[in-house]
Amino acid sequence: MTGDVISVVIADDEPDVRLLLRLQLETVDGVEVVGEAADGVEVIEVCRKLRPRAVVMDLLMPKMLGIHAIEEIRRDIPNIAVVAYTATAGEFVRQEMERLEVPLLLKSGDIRALVDAIRSSLARVVE
């Protein structure tokens, strides 16, 4: 894989959401979906194994919340770009994402916003 391609792991407990994100991201030049995970524990394992450059993370997932999974993954891969992708976000979630410097996107189906968030998060971690 070349350094220009952004390898992405998708983490969401809804298989239909993972399907949609995969289909959408596959249409974007320079982005490659390399793995998927259905819960907070699996996403840590998948990231350890595949070492992606970015992860799109649902926050409410079984076994481990996305918030905790983000911190765990960053211990292993400090330069990984993370985008939180969630249906709703209250004050607690917004504050946590600010603390972790993770861009937060509400699920809207707008792939351009997601790709922009991945790229800006990536730019920040490689600075």
């Binding site: 289909l23 699920k107 189906g109």
Partner: protein, 242 residues
């Protein structure tokens, strides 16, 4: 007591009652606003996104992935709407058929295969036990109760079928699901209320228990919940035995 004093006390009592009801309505409104956007956003945006992906998707993806997903999402949205109406007390979605004898064990097995996600479940009691409920109704009750057990439980869920032996002629289906400690037990079953332990685990409408209870009562039975010693929930559905 003079008529004037009595009238004044009645007026105070009416005012207190009105205020109590307004507080209840406000609490319900807040609960609805908390859960509906979360529960609906994912199926709606996913549906739209998949529909938009159709023109560029391969024939194979359309046939094997997208079309089944669109069907699942439509069914999910339909179920959410039915549940909301039922939980809100709009009984148009209650079954209209007569009660029929329904064996419990096969329904438990089928529902757990659908919602259990591969987690362990133990069935205890008579494999041939049957209860009276409208066709498909026991399945709908158990979908909600067992879905809660699967989503919010930790460890093995146990379903016990018990004949109370109190001469009531009823059968109790007791779903014992270990999990996080539930401190708001008195609020469980109120439509659109979600326990704190549930909010942190999975999205949902907070109507499962209310819907299952409405279905149980419609089948001339009952549904009760109690906090489980050590954490988790015990849900008991009582229906007339066959």
């Amino acid at each position: 007591m003079t008529p004037g004093v009595q009238a004044s006390q009645t007026s105070d009592s009416d005012s207190d009652e009105l205020e109590r009801r307004l507080r209840e309505v406000d609490a319900l409104r807040r609960r609805v606003l908390n859960v509906i956007p979360h529960a609906l956003r994912t199926p709606i945006t996913t549906f739209r996104g998949l529909a938009e992906a159709l023109p560029t998707a391969s024939e194979d993806d359309i046939r094997t992935s997208i079309t089944p997903a669109l069907r699942r999402l439509a069914a999910q949205a339909e179920r959410l709407l039915d549940d909301m109406l039922l939980a809100a007390g709009l009984t148009t979605t209650l079954p209209t058929s007569e009660r029929v004898g329904t064996m419990v064990r096969p329904v438990v097995d089928d529902v757990w295969a659908e919602v259990g996600g591969g987690a362990p479940l133990v069935f205890e009691g008579d494999d041939d036990a049957a209860v009276l409920a409208p066709a498909g109704s026991l399945s709908k009750m158990l979908v909600h109760v067992l879905d809660n057990a699967a989503k919010y439980g930790d460890g093995t869920t146990t379903v016990k079928v018990v004949q109370p032996g109190d001469g009531s002629g009823s059968t109790a289906i007791v779903v014992d699901s270990p999990g996080a400690e539930i401190t708001e037990i008195e609020l469980l079953g109120q439509p659109f209320f979600r326990a704190e332990a549930a909010v942190m685990r999975s999205p949902g409408l907070g109507v499962g228990i209310a819907v299952a209870r409405a279905l149980a009562e419609h089948a001339r039975g009952s549904l009760t919940v109690e906090a489980r010693d050590g954490g988790g929930l015990i849900t008991t559905i009582e229906l007339e035995a066959v």
